[in-house]
Amino acid sequence: MQDFKRILSLHHEVMALRNKQFQIHEQIYQIGTRIPIHFAFGHEAIAVALASNLPSKDKLLLPHRNIHYHLALGATVEDLLAEYQIKTSSISGRYLGSMNLDFPNRGAIYTSNILGNNLSVATGIALGMKVKELKSAIWCVTGDGAIEEGSFFESLLLSSSKKLGVIYVVENNGWSLASTIEDRRIKMNLSLLAQSLGVRYQKLSGNNVHEYADTLYEIRETNLTTRDTFIVEVELTTLGGYFTTEGDHKRYINYHAGKAQKDAISESVIQSDSNDPVFISEKVHDEVKTELNIK
């Protein structure tokens, strides 16, 4: 029963996180802001799973798309609206806008909007914890665009060589701005790259938050014992894209940042397949409820 409660709670959080993003989206553009916000529709499962595995002594480093982690860590809609309007700064304690926003009291101590910048800072924080003999996991979130930077290779090499044990979470949405992976490079085999550097590799896909949470728990336990470095590649889809017509052609415009078109939001943010964590969470939620009723 306890486990069912935990599972339900995680899936509830995914649905709530989506709603909070919608609320912010609605309000921020009514109020008007010049701060660019990178919404993370479709990224909810990994954010909730990671936040559920983040005790206060762990540290989290985030990239420019970070709204989902802040909400999952407990920031309210009002907190973020205030941060984005540079009105009050209740979660970061400083005025940082959206792309550098951090949440130190919940472990999110550094956020960078420069691709690959946070990867090496994570190695220093991990080394600092080691020097201070503090047993904590260092999580660093990045994306499939940032791993093209040399800093990704350098940081993996450093973290692995010096047993710093950083856990790199790669949100792979297949896009960098409006370029797909296929547009810009050959496909990378992160598993093989990890293997060559003595780094452990784990892939997460399917957007099932409680499965993600269980896997991250195991990774954290192993990491604290072995100080091994990890790459956790998360396959996900950034929702909110839409189609437009250009002559006779239909053209797909992916969602990157800022205001999403309302039609697009209503039509494509909620998808009826496993690309949408909310769809999965609603499905699992119903299944668990049915199971509980039967029992």
Partner: protein, 315 residues
């Protein structure tokens, strides 16, 4: 006057004294605890119990990021860098990470000790030989370890979250110069009594890391019996440095500014401007042959001492 110390042995002594004040820390860089280290810099650091010392991979960008991460984690660190050209790979961290952290609290000091390659004949690359550009983009505190007074001042100063100490490659193994008559003011080593209102002697202002042409001109002018005062820049800090210029320009006298830095973006330009704005007579001597900065040569700033003499004795 020269001491029994070389620049590198004196800096090592000061580094050890600094590290001994720390509860814990990290000393790192490429080849810093093996072989001849970096021209002897960093000797004995690996024998200190309170810090962790290690050689690193060749990843300057990531090593800067690591230093900033250590700072956030509250662990002081020293990164010893063989040549400051390598720091160009870490411009993102020096600019973006450093600025982001400026309003963080409880940061430990991340100190980068870098060797400025000014010895010439390195090829068109490794020929940067200036700190002005790094100062401009990073806004970091940069200390120029160009004499004993400068080294003492740099290590005695209140530590900041991110600092650069720069040392000239050609000075490293030279005997350490001691100029007894110099005191420290506004980021300069200055002659005693320089600020006194009755002191109207001309001032020779030296900017940049090391300037042989300046030293040679000082000798020449002394031989010629010309009286003058000296102000050597030992810390790059535009506001503070300019304060000194403003103080000195209150007295009517001449200034000669020497700057051997290979930058079009020199901090000394501001000094010249400030002095001229206050109606001082200024002779500003810099490298002007931009097109030749990538030439493979001795990399010396050359000037005609006679020009300086004529300026100083003219009415």
């Amino acid at each position: 006057m020269n001491s029994n110390f070389t620049f590198s042995s004196y800096i090592n002594l000061k580094l050890i004294e600094y590290v001994e004040t720390l509860e814990h820390g990290v000393f790192f860089g490429q080849n810093v605890i093996t072989g001849s280290r970096i021209s002897g810099l960093g000797a004995h650091m690996d024998s200190l119990g309170n810090i962790s010392s290690f050689n690193t991979q060749n990843s300057e960008n990531t090593l800067f990021g690591m230093g900033f991460g250590l700072s956030i984690a509250g662990v002081p660190s020293i990164y010893l860098m063989k040549q400051h050209d390598f720091a160009l790979l870490a411009i993102d961290h020096m600019v973006n990470t450093a600025r982001l952290l400026k309003n963080h609290s409880n940061l430990a000091t991340f100190l980068v000790l870098m060797v400025v390659v000014d010895s010439g004949y390195e090829g068109p690359q490794s020929n940067l030989n200036n700190l002005d550009d790094l100062y401009s983009i990073s806004q970091a505190k940069i200390s120029l370890l160009n004499n004993k007074n400068a080294i003492d001042y740099a290590f005695k100063s209140k530590r900041k979250a991110f600092e650069i100490f720069a040392i000239s490659q050609k000075s490293l193994k030279c005997a350490l110069c001691i100029e007894e008559s110099l005191t420290t003011m506004d980021g300069f080593s200055v002659s005693d009594g320089l600020e006194a209102p009755e002191n109207t002697e001309p001032v020779l202002v030296n900017c940049g890391i090391v300037n042989d042409a300046f030293e040679s001109c000082v000798k020449y002018l002394r031989q010629c019996g010309v009286k003058f005062q000296i102000a050597r820049q030992i810390e790059m800090n535009l506001e503070e440095n300019n304060q000194l210029m403003k103080k000195l320009a209150k007295v009517k006298r001449k200034f000669v500014i020497f700057d051997s830095s290979k930058s079009i973006n020199k901090i000394s330009t501001h000094f010249s401007f400030t002095l001229k704005e206050m109606n001082s007579q200024v002779l500003y001597l810099t490298r002007e042959d931009h097109a030749n900065w990538s030439r493979v040569d001795h990399d010396q700033f050359e000037l005609d001492n006679r020009t300086v003499l004529d300026f100083l004795v003219s009415r």
